[in-house]
Every structure is written in structure tokens, then in C-alpha cells.
Amino acid sequence: MRVMAQTGTAPPDDLPAAMVAEGQHGPVIHDTNRAARLAGVQRGARVTDMKALLPDLRVEYADIYGDRHAMEQLMFWVRRWCPWSAQDGPDGLILDTTGSDHLWGGEAAMLADMEAAFSTLGLTAQIALAPTWGAAWALARYGTVRSICAEGEIAQKLSPLPAEALRLNNGTVTLLRRLGLKTIGALADVPRLSLTRRFVKAKLHENPVIRLDQAMGRTAEPVSSPDATPTFRAHTRLPEPIMDPTPFMPDLCRELCDQMEAQGYGCRRLLLTVYHTDGDTHRIDVAMSVHSRDPDHLLYLFRDKLEAINPGYGFDLITLDAAQTEQMQTVQAHLGGGADETVDLSRLIDRLTARFGVRAVSTPALRESHVPERAQNWVGALHGSNDTAEVVAAERPIRLLSHPEEVRVLYAVPKGPPVQFVWRRQTHKVARYAGPERIAPEWWHDLPGTRLRDYFKVEDHAGRRFWIYREGLHGDGRGGDPRWFVHGMFA
């Protein structure tokens, strides 16, 4: 809708339109306009059902992440009226206007100003003002237009509102309705002791006692107002187009790091953008495993990447942006002033990753599985892994082939170990063996029909120790004769 409003293709208000999102069983209605709502289209209903109800319903996909981002932006925008604001669910904002209403000529004037400002943005807002978060939430959604609630009249204003207005989930609202408690007033009349006894173990969003206390101001619910993340950007404008950004990089990195240091921030990603004279842009990004603001280190990460830029007719603007910034403490690792070893390792990871790619530099992540190739997974060292699964107690090889290699075998007994096998065109005579160790397929992962494996540790005539397995059994009904594979090597 937002995009369509910008491009001027938004549907008119009097035609029913709905935004849809992917549900579990096909698309569901995410939100509707007024015309559709009046025609009976409900949120959360399936699109096919609603199309049957209203064949000319216009349906567009919702941009949920975009909406979330826009809401975050809006949260910072509303700080023009008061210094504290926070997001309240996916569709609400809460502002702590204590002490700032007189700047706008009183509470009523401030609400009118807010509504006007929102409408210039093209947004409709339902606004209410109350001494508590809960009461403001209820009045904005279920109260009259621009309702203002003074300190002493919360109970009186809230009592005719339905129980949903207490920020309870659907299950609890249904339960209260079955108990005959349809309004907040009815709920407030119930003796507190019996209500507490009934909901003693309920969580916050299903506990009417706590919610009622919050709305009435008996329990404090302060607004925790997040700070806007500062953006860090360094740029160089050039009088004449150039072909190689390398000489400008040290200054750009230093400027960016100075900016971040001044505010106590570090970044995990860097974006270098060059703007060509012909309007083209080229962008390079590098990532780090821990936050950093060391200009030499950042510069090093770009070392081999700058050659990849196609200069074309040259470029005249270079910008360097810091992304994924986070507050970073300055730490002294040792009293003597020595360097920290973990920092060293993360720098090494950054350097190698910048050079060879995320997948090339990896650390093992062990998982609790008996299937050998699932027990160990290599994950990029840049993101780190802290899986600490218990490893299987049985003996395992020190090398594992990425793909098991099929071998031709000669065996004495079908269920026993092979007498000899041919692997990579070489015949290995089995001198000794240990096993079998049977590893059954994991039915919750594997396709139906996957065969079990019998692993043997075998030693050939020359003393080389292999881990080989037979896939399946004779006559297990899952394919023909079992096949044999080499899967790993022991020391």
C-alpha cells in the first residue's frame, strides 16, 4: 500500500481491497481497508473464502518487513512531541508525554496537532491520552475519538469498554466472556481475591489481574525508549574522475573509525560504494566476526577487493558506510598492555574470510547424530558456532570423505566383513577388522527407503585402516544387493 501510494496506484477508498500474507494453509488476510471491512472481510481469514464472499476484492501482498521498518522510523519521528516513545505491538506507538503537553498548548491541542501531522503523512491515527499505558491502549482502540482521560477517571472511562481492551489474548477473552465478564467494569467488580486465585499461574498476556492493575495505574509500566542507532559514513568527493580508489581508502577508514570512536561504536560490516561518472554504482562489502573500529584492520579487509571494481569512465564519489554497528567498550586486555588473543583470532578470521569467502573459513559444529556425515557440520567461522553436542563414544576415523566412495568387495559371509575390496583400482586384502557397528537411518530426516549401514573398521595387508560400510542387507526389500562404501580413514 505504501509503495502504491507513492507511485500513485493505490486503490480508491470506496473499493474493497485487502493485504495478504502467507499463512499455514495458503494466503490469509493481513489487513483490509474500510470498504472491505464493512463488506465483512475479516483479518486472519483465508483469501479464498473472502473471495467467495466478495468476488471483486482487490488483493495485494503485504510488505511486513517494510511495515516494521516504517513503524520504527515513525517511532523516532514522533519524538517531536515528547522525548520518550516506543513501539507497542506491530501497529501501535506509545508516547510518554508527561510534562510536554503545555508546549503544544494543552493536551487537546497536542492531540489535534498529532492527528494533523499524521494526516499530512497520509496516515490515519487513532489517538488517546491517558495516565497509564494500558488505559491509553484501550481508549485509542475502543474509546471515542481523541479521548482524554484525566488522573482520577480511569476506572470510569474504562468500565464500558470490552474485555479485549485489556491487552489480553483471544483465549482469555473467550474465557472471560464465558464467565459473563464482558466489560472491564464487570471484571473490576469481581472480588480481587477470587480473580487472583483463578489466574494465579497465568502469564502476563493472559492474566486479567495484572493487566487490570496496569491499566488502573496500580502497577507501574514505564516506557523504555530505545535510542536511534547513529549512522556512520565517510565520503570523498573528487574534482576529477579517477580509476583507482586505493589511495583514498586509508583516509576514509580513519575518518569512519574516528566517527565511531567518538560515539563508542564498532561495526561488523562495511559498505564501500563508488559512484561512476556515467551514473553507475559499484558496491563492495566486507564483514567481520567481531565489532571493530581499527582503521588498519578495516583497510586490510579491502586489500584484494578493490581490484574487482570496473572503473569504466572513472568515478568521482566514494562513500564508506558502517553497517551492523553496535556499542563497543574499550577494553584493556592485560595490565602490561599486551594484545588480546581472541582479538587476534577474530582478525585472522576476518582477513581470511575477506580473501577466500565465508564458506572457505569454517569451524566444526558437532551435532548429536549417529549418522557420521551429520555429526559434524562445517559452519562459517565469521558467524561462529557454539554447539557443544556430545560426541558419539564409539571410535571414529580422523578423516571422513565428503562423499562415500563405492568399492567392489569379496566376502565370505554376506553379513560379515569383506575379505578384500577394490578401492580406486587398488586391491586391499583385509587382515583384521572390528565391527559391525550398525547405524540405522534417522527416519525423521531420511527419505523413506533409506537403508541401514553396517560399519566396519578394517585394516588391510599393508596396515592402512579404513572405515567401510555396507548399505543395507540382503533381502531387506529396499533395493537389490547391498553396496559397500569407503567412508573414512583411521590413523
Binding site: A339, E341, T342, D344, L345, R347, L348, I349, R351, L352, R355, F356, R359, A360, V361, S362, T363, P364, L366, P372, A375, Q376, W378, A381, V391, V392, E395, R396, P397, I398, R399, L400, L401, S402, R424, A431, R432, Y433, A434, K457, V458, E459, A462, G463, R464, R465, G488, M489, F490, A491
Partner: protein
């Protein structure tokens, strides 16, 4: 009796130095007799310091394809490993050189397949000097390769031997045994040994390699006498 004493002392000296050779913080290269033999990897792993820090393990594409990847459930959780899988041998050398500068790395292992032209005397000299300057043990595992000119301080050639007897199962292979040849070294006398790796304690037992064929054939074939 007097002629026995010097030889005894000599042998104890060699044994002592053999233990410490592997623990030296220098560049060593290890050649394998057959390409897909994990004996060399086992030998290198036996020399790594335990619980000391991250081991950087660089492999080129052919090494990973032909001989697989390190498998941590078998190596043990005590060793923390960071693997760098690159395509070219020159990238392995660059990675090893970069990692040797890093203080948090306790050892560097590189695997290079064949005799690439980039792996010349200069490249090994760089690695050797850097390993000594930073005091990090550096191992270069070379498969399907010729032991041509190299600046490695210790050069080993390793092959599998039939394993020691299994304490509980006469049929099964026991502790691994390797034939280890030190064919060039600055610190010790070159020689050939049969090495048994004790998996329970993680120690290496060097013993003189037998030249007697009759004894050799009996090695690891104790089960025959046991079953008879």
C-alpha cells in the same frame, strides 16, 4: 662390559631428542607413502599441543577431494580446529603464512597435493622463518609429492604398519603403528623407527624399526598365536 655403556647412552639420547623433535616449533614436512593414508595426519595430530588454542588447518581442493576432511568426532573435542578450504596450493601457503603471525593459533597444518611450482624453496623458507620467529609449530602434509628442495627443519616420511594387538579383541586392529622415517633434520640424527601411538594416553613410543623380515611378519599377527 665397557663397550656396552656408550651405545646405551647414545640410544637414550636419540630417544629423548626424538620426543622433542616433534614438539619443536619449526616447519616440518610430512610425506605419505600412499596418498589416502591417514597415518601422516595421525602422526601430526599426536604432536599437537592439547588444549592450547586453535589449530588452523588449511587444505587445497585436491587434498580435500582425495583424502576427505578432518573429522572432529574422531580427533576429539579437546582440539579446536579452524579449517580453511581453498582451491589453489598458493592459497594454502598464503593462509599458513598469515596464520603463523597470529598469537591465538597454537599450530598450523597445511595439506598440499602433488608438487605445485609455487611450493618451491623460497616458499618453504618463508614458512620456516616465520614459524621460528613466532614460535608456532607448522606442519606441511604432502601427498603424491616428491621430497624436493625444501627449507623444512624436519622432514618425515610416514607409512602405516599393521597395528598393535587389541587388548580385548584378537580380531580387531588395536593402537595404530606407523613406520616413521626422519630423512632430514637439523636437530637429530636421521633414522627410521616403528612408532606406536598410545591412544589412551596420547603418547608416542619410538622403537627401532626391525630389519629382520621374520620378526616383521609377526608384527600385528599375534592373533594367530592367540587362536592356536
Amino acid at each position: 662390559m665397557s663397550y656396552l655403556a656408550p651405545s646405551k647412552r647414545l640410544s637414550s639420547q636419540t630417544r629423548l631428542s626424538l620426543r622433542s623433535i616433534g614438539a619443536q616449533k619449526v616447519l616440518s614436512d610430512v610425506f605419505t607413502q600412499t596418498a589416502a593414508d591417514a597415518a601422516a595426519v595421525g602422526f601430526v595430530l599426536a604432536h599437537l599441543p592439547r588444549d592450547a588454542g586453535t589449530v588452523l588447518w588449511a587444505q587445497d581442493r585436491l587434498s580435500a577431494k582425495e583424502t576427505g576432511q578432518p573429522y572432529m568426532p574422531g580427533i576429539g573435542p579437546a582440539q579446536s580446529v579452524m579449517r580453511v578450504a581453498v582451491s589453489r596450493p598458493s592459497d594454502v601457503l598464503v593462509t599458513m603464512e598469515d596464520a603463523l603471525r597470529c598469537k591465538a593459533v597454537s599450530a598450523v597444518i597445511g595439506e598440499i597435493w602433488g608438487d605445485p611450482p609455487t611450493l618451491d624453496f623460497t616458499a618453504t623458507k618463508r614458512l620456516a622463518l616465520r614459524a621460528e620467529a613466532h614460535g608456532v609449530p607448522c606442519w606441511l602434509i604432502r601427498r603424491a609429492a616428491h621430497p624436493n628442495l625444501s627449507a623444512a627443519r624436519n622432514r618425515w616420511r610416514i607409512a602405516s604398519l599393521p597395528s598393535a594387538a587389541h587388548p580385548h579383541d584378537a580380531q580387531a586392529p588395536g593402537d595404530p603403528r606407523w613406520q616413521v622415517e626422519l630423512f632430514r633434520s637439523r636437530a637429530a640424527q636421521p633414522g627410521t623407527w616403528a612408532v606406536r601411538y598410545d591412544r589412551a594416553t596420547g603418547r608416542l613410543d619410538f622403537s627401532a624399526a626391525s630389519v629382520d623380515g621374520a620378526v616383521d611378519a609377526r608384527d600385528g599377527a599375534d592373533r594367530h598365536s592367540a587362536t592356536r
